[in-house]
């Protein structure tokens, strides 16, 4: 009896340690990446990096101002096209979608989510780049938007479904129509989750390289407007990291650090705003 108790206790301790170590390993991966990026990128990070254009091979220094702005422009476009579509389709699925029709949309969305990003790149190349006869910010934005849609859709659907039915009934029992209920009760209740989902989607595509390779392409100079090839941080990292030049490698590390910082700051910032917001009057 006593032996059995000892065995059970030690097994408990063993399993607890095992799961704890696994959890620690997961967290440490993030911190390892962060630390490695900071270690390698910090030295090359200076004011020039944010304000200057890349310099030709052989010259030292220069920066990636055009790629930072380019990445932000691409994300803005992806957000403007992809987020409303994703959220609205999510509302449809959570609030209206019937059994068969809803299942179909959900299944197709999951398939879209699983399409390799390089394939999305080829697709956008053939429907946007080829007819326009030029790589462009627009084409890159469309490619990223296609990736944003399924992520936003599924996350907003999940958060809308988590809003208790009793809230919908409460609003409808006061005479609110269905759309009014969704607009004034359901959406505000799910607001925090939906915004978090949007951010995660944008953070996810912020680092995408493959779909940009032959849509936004890349640019060593500023790219005015939306109809020209544009530099972006991930493509810049790719190009610089595979180059044989020491100075470019350091720049690639710095670009990686900046990209991660943009994503983290956006993420943490939104969480702070959301938690301060609390209950808001309509």
């Amino acid at each position: 009896m006593n032996l059995r108790l000892t065995w059970r206790k030690s097994l408990n301790v063993f399993m607890l340690t095992l799961t704890g170590v696994a959890a620690l390993a997961v967290v440490s991966v993030l911190f390892l990446i962060l630390g490695y990026l900071v270690w390698n990128g910090w030295k090359s990070l200076n004011l020039d990096f944010f304000t200057k254009l890349p310099v030709p091979v052989g010259e030292m220094g220069g920066g990636m101002a055009n790629a930072i702005v380019g990445s932000l422009k691409l994300l803005l476009l992806a957000a403007v096209i992809g987020l409303p579509m994703g959220v609205m389709a999510g509302i449809y699925l959570a609030e209206f979608g019937g059994r068969t029709y809803g299942f179909t949309i959900r299944y197709v969305t999951d398939l879209l989510n699983g399409v390799p990003s390089i394939v999305i790149g080829i697709f956008v190349w053939s429907i946007v780049v080829a007819p326009m006869k030029t790589f462009s910010t627009f084409a890159g934005g469309v490619a990223l938007a296609i990736m944003v849609i399924p992520i936003t859709l599924r996350s907003s659907e999940a958060f809308l479904r988590a809003v208790p039915t009793s809230l919908r009934e409460g609003a409808m029992a006061l005479g609110a129509s269905k759309w009014r209920t969704i607009l004034t009760v359901v959406l505000p209740a799910a607001r925090g989750g939906i915004i978090t989902g949007m951010l995660l989607a944008l953070a996810r595509v912020a680092g995408e390289t493959a779909p940009l390779l032959f849509t936004a392409f890349g640019n060593q100079f500023w790219s005015p407007g939306w109809k020209q090839p544009v530099a972006s941080l991930p493509v810049m990292i790719y190009t610089y990291a595979i180059s044989p030049y020491q100075d470019w490698h350091r720049q690639a590390w710095a670009a990686g650090l900046v990209l991660l910082a943009i994503v983290l700051i956006a993420n943490i910032g939104t969480r702070i705003v959301l938690s301060r917001g609390g209950v808001r009057s309509v």
């Binding site: 809230l167 919908r168 009934e169 409460g170 029992a173 006061l174 005479g175 609110a176 209950v279």
Partner: protein
């Protein structure tokens, strides 16, 4: 009152479905002589898809009285209640046949927004919106396009729900900061804000502690001066002490409907007696 031939059909169906049923229409006919009726329901059948949940219900709900609906779980009390403000319409594939008259007007033909303004509802669990206390009460006013001073009506509604003194200093705080009992009174205030003629209560106290329950019961008692109340309850004591009339339902049939004192002391049907004495259900 239904015509003689309709009542004949009524009885035939009732006997086939539930033998030994007391005639609800006759029972309600004697006891409601002195009052007017807010709701007159006749031949109400209700279906969830192919499944019938209510069978040929006929009863009259007197104005400015408290009517309790009792019966075991799944007997159709809530389904019946949710027919009175057409909340069941939100359920896919549900339908009803028969007639539900509110002040002599068929609710089927009424604008649903207008109907629900006149017939408010309070649910089993408090369901305040994730908004401030003020905005919760003002919600119904806003969606009904009320353009006057909201704050006066919000205060009036909170006073009617006996909540004003507890919340007047933090109207702009989240409704979630309130206790369960306060939240339920807030939901009552929210329903009262649009000044309904009828308030439907679906087990309003089942999620509350005895102190909060006592407060809500007292509140319900005060409200009957200005409102017709229909309350579903699982609590026999609550039905006995709070209501004027009581209806006992079983498997979608109305078994007995009479004055509460009569139903609880001298029930006409043996099943009613068995239920209220706790022998089943």
């Amino acid at each position: 009152m239904a015509s003689a031939s309709a009542r004949g059909k009524d009885d035939a169906v009732a006997v086939r479905l539930a033998p030994k049923v007391t005639m609800p229409e006759q029972a309600s006919a004697d006891l409601l002589k002195e009052t007017t009726n807010r709701f007159e329901i006749s031949h109400l059948d209700f279906f969830y898809g192919p499944k019938q949940a209510l069978f040929n219900l006929g009863l009259k709900i007197p104005t400015n009285r408290i009517t309790a609906l009792i019966g075991p779980s799944g007997c159709g009390k809530s389904t019946f209640l949710r027919n009175l403000n057409r909340m069941n319409e939100t359920i896919r594939n549900s339908r009803y046949t028969g007639e539900i008259l509110l002040d002599g007007q068929d609710i089927k033909a009424m604008d649903v927004v207008n109907l629900r303004r006149r017939v408010g509802m309070v649910f089993q669990r408090p369901n305040p919106f994730p908004k401030s206390i003020f905005d919760n009460v003002a919600y119904g006013l806003r969606i009904n396009g009320y353009s006057g001073r909201l704050s006066d009506l919000v205060e009036h509604s909170l006073r009617r729900a006996a909540l004003w003194d507890e919340v007047k200093d933090h109207l702009h705080k989240s409704a979630f900061a309130l206790s369960g009992g306060q939240q339920q009174r807030l939901c009552i205030a929210r329903a009262l804000a649009v000044d309904p003629e009828v308030l439907l209560l679906d087990e309003p106290c089942s999620a509350l502690d005895p102190v909060s329950t006592a407060k809500i019961e007292e509140l319900i008692f005060q409200l009957k001066e200005s409102c017709t109340l229909v309350m579903v309850t699982h609590n026999m004591q609550q039905a006995a002490r709070a209501s004027d009339f009581a209806a006992f339902m079983l498997d979608g049939h109305l078994i007995e409907y009479s004055e509460t004192s009569k139903l609880f002391t001298t029930p006409a049907d043996h099943r009613t007696e068995a239920y209220i004495t706790g022998r089943f259900g």
